[in-house]
Structures are given as C-alpha cells and as structure tokens.
C-alpha cells in the first residue's frame, strides 16, 4: 500500500481537495485520479512536452512533477484554457492555420504557446521556435504551429489596440 496524502489546490479556477499517492506524478493525478484526460502521457521523462501544464504562471512537464507538490498552487490544464479570449484566439489560430493533424501533441503545445504569449506579447517565428523547443510533434513539421502562434500574437495585439 503506498502512502497517501491529501492536498488542496486550485485547478482550472476551482478549489479542489484530492487524495494522492505520495510517489505519483501530477500527470497521473490529473488523468487517473481527477479524470482530466486532455493532458497527455508522451514519454514520462520531460522530453516531449505532451504533458505540459501551467503551475503558478509557469509551464512545467506534469510527468516530472510530484502530485503532492500541487498543494497550495494554482494549476491550469488544457481544459482550463477555454472561455478566455486569448485562449480562444490561440485555438482559432491553431485550427485556421492547420496546426493540428493527429492532435496528440496539441494540448501540450496550446498550453506552452499560451504561456509564451502571456510573457511575450509580440513574438516572431524564431522566438516561438525556441519557446516550443520542449514540445515534440511528429505530424506537422512545426511550421504551421509556429505560424499559428505568431498569428495569434498579432491578433491579440490588434485586439488590444
């Protein structure tokens, strides 16, 4: 029987209380305990970015994070990136620019991109490529993903004026 621990944290804007295994990753907690399957298992080693979530305004690989470390934090997953004008603009850009093929890498990329845009309101392609270097995609060759993110940043900029 592995040791359990109770944690309380904010998940996608809602206060939650969850009981987790002490050795469990945040990814396993999200998918198997809470049932939010949008965040994906890609490698379990922090090399592919499919499990990217936002914790206290920073993106991290949830496969590397201990679930217990979510205690007292603010966590946002792909499911929480809805209903927000900026997130909607990003999603629309991904769709319109053909940045989605099989879609498996897409949630991690959307989360990473939204974080990138929050910290870099005006991005060029080179900055985006560096910004998503921790997210692997096997289908698209990244070009349209980069175009979508750059386009979303300009859309926001346009909207802000």
């Amino acid at each position: 029987m592995s040791l359990k621990h109770d944690i309380a944290f904010t998940l996608n804007g809602v206060q939650r209380k969850v009981t987790v295994d002490v050795g469990q990753s945040a990814l396993a907690m999200l998918r198997d305990v809470i049932g939010l399957t949008g965040t994906k298992y890609g490698c379990g080693e922090g090399e592919c970015g499919a499990c990217t979530i936002i914790v206290d305004d920073q993106t991290i690989n949830s496969c590397l994070m201990f679930a217990v470390d979510c205690d007292g934090r603010r966590v946002t997953t792909i499911e929480g990136l809805t209903g927000d004008a900026r997130a909607d603009a990003l999603r629309d850009a991904f769709v319109a620019h053909g940045a989605v093929q099989c879609g498996f890498c897409t949630p991690g990329l959307m989360v990473q991109a939204s974080h990138l845009l929050a910290h870099h309101p005006e991005v060029d392609a080179a900055t985006v490529k560096r910004g998503i270097e921790g997210n692997l995609c096997r289908c698209t060759g990244y070009k349209k993903i980069v175009e979508a993110i750059v386009s979303a940043s300009h859309a926001e900029e346009g909207a802000a004026r």
């Binding site: 922090g46 993106t59 590397l64 201990f66 270097e133 921790g134």
Partner: protein, 288 residues
C-alpha cells in the same frame, strides 16, 4: 512500489534540517531529476520524502558581501531573468538558454542541478569557471552549522557529491568578477537546447591589454564530473591571446582530457571537439 513511509513539506530551513538529522530522507525540489530517476529505478526512495519547495531561506538571488548568493531553490528560468545575474554573470544566462526546454527550466532548481552532479551539467560548467562555492547547512547537534566548499571540490563522481546525509545544499556563492573579466560557455549540440551534450566548455579570466590572467577552463562530459583543465589554463595564464597561444591551448586541451566512448559520442570525437571548440571560443574572445 516506492517505499515512502512519510511525506513532509517543511516551511523553514530549521525544520528541514531537523528532519534530515533524524532520518533517512530523499530531498525533493523541482522533481526534474527525482521523478524520472525514481520511475526508472535508478533512485530508490528513502523512507521519508521531504519537499523543500516551501523553505523560504532557499529562495532568492542577492548580494552577499563581495559575492552573489543564489538560493538552492532558484530555477534556471529565475536565474536567466535576474538583473544581478544579467549584470555580473551573463554566462549563466547563456548556459540557461541551452538548458533542456522552457518547461524544465521553469522547474529545475540550481540546487537540484548541483546535487545531481552530472558530468555534463550545463549550469555546472560556468559555475566552475566563476569560482563558485556550494553552501551547505546542517543541524548536527541542534545548532545550525553552515559551511562553504569550492564547487570544484564538491563533485566526487557522477551523481555523487560531498554533501553529507544530514546536510542540505542551501545555495551557491559566486564572487563578484574583477574588472576586465570575461566568461564564455559553449555546449556542443545540433539543437539550441534539449540535448545532453557530447562536450561542453567554460572559459573565464581577466583580459588586460592583451594578456590573460586568472584563467579558468572547465570541460563537461569528458570526465566523471565537470572538471577544470589545469594544463589548458597553464597554456593561457599570463599569455597574450594570439594565434600561437590559442593553438597551444587547444592542443593542451586535446592532450589533457580523457573522455569515454558512450551512446552519445566516441572518445576520439570528443577530443576533436574539445580541441576545435576551445580554439573557436578563444578566437571569439580574442575578437571581442
């Protein structure tokens, strides 16, 4: 299954050290090494898992006398964004930029990086050439004791350091650089980051007129730990940074490293890279 029997998340350094004094503890910070290593079986959990992420004394970057102190919990991203670091140690910003990925930089702590003691550790090479010290705290008899050890003496082998079981790495001190100081970092790779390097190089020193002094050279991934390169340093110390010196230093580097063959590169190739890239870095310093 993991053998964790107790989980604690102390909120002060004293509390954390008490826990370390009492029992067998696995220390957890960002988790970027502990999680994958425990999953793969490389790391076996001790009975107590101690999460130090909420210990305030381990955070922050601040001036400490004639040095800058970086707390053990400071992440690679924090280091890159800090104004003191940008002003005094831009080489650390450079090294951070080549570190893994944004997601990992946001979670990976300097303390974790140092304790993991990888022979290829990206942050460790520049710290070595900056003459950094590791700061360790313990409470062996109920009273807190702090000691400092040069980073070069701290690494013993891959994944092995001189940290005692009841000690916590609390931070890193880096002496403020003297005037005319330069420091460079090079990491070999086909990607800007997200790569465990075949070799990496750190070079620092003082350059007055055209003479070099206080030269420090360190190599990564050519030895069981990040290492200084005394013969290469000797080939540069007190010399003019001209063609002959650069070639001699590059050759000294080639001769003094003893790399191994592994899945990432052969020993022969590593030596070629060390020589060619030491030369290239010194060329850049000369042109600056």
């Amino acid at each position: 299954m993991n053998a964790i029997e107790q989980y604690i998340a102390p909120t002060s350094l004293a509390q954390a050290l008490e826990c370390l004094r009492e029992g067998e503890v696995t220390v957890l910070a960002g988790g970027t090494d502990v999680m994958p290593q425990s999953q793969s079986g490389r790391l076996k959990f001790k009975p107590t898992l101690m999460n130090i992420q909420r210990v305030p004394e381990l955070k922050g970057i601040a001036r400490d006398g004639d040095a800058i102190r970086i707390g053990a919990l400071v992440t690679v991203t924090d280091i890159m964004r800090d104004t003191l670091v940008q002003e005094f140690f831009p080489v650390l910003v450079e090294a951070g930029d080549h570190f893994a990925s944004d997601q990992i930089r946001n979670a990976a702590t300097l303390g974790g990086n140092i304790n993991n003691a990888s022979p290829a550790g990206d942050m460790l090479i520049p710290l070595l050439v900056l003459d950094a010290y590791a700061e360790l705290a313990a409470k062996p008899n109920g009273e807190m004791r702090v000691r400092r050890i040069p980073l070069g003496d701290f690494f013993v082998g891959p994944g092995k350091t001189r940290r005692a079981a009841n000690e916590l790495l609390t931070g890193v001190l880096i002496p403020l650089p003297p005037p005319n100081h330069f420091a460079r970092f090079f990491k070999f790779g086909t990607r800007p980051a997200l790569d465990i390097s075949a070799i990496s190089i750190g070079i620092a020193g003082v350059r007055t007129d055209h003479l070099l002094s206080q030269v420090r050279v360190a190599f990564g991934a050519v030895a069981p730990t990040p290492v200084r390169a005394p013969r290469t340093e000797a080939a540069l110390e007190g010399k003019r940074l001209d063609r002959a010196t650069i070639d001699a230093a590059a050759q000294a580097a080639y001769d003094e490293v003893r790399p191994i063959d592994d899945v990432r590169a052969s020993a022969w190739y590593r030596r070629e890279l060390i020589r060619n890239m030491t030369k290239r870095m010194l060329d850049h310093v000369a042109q600056a």
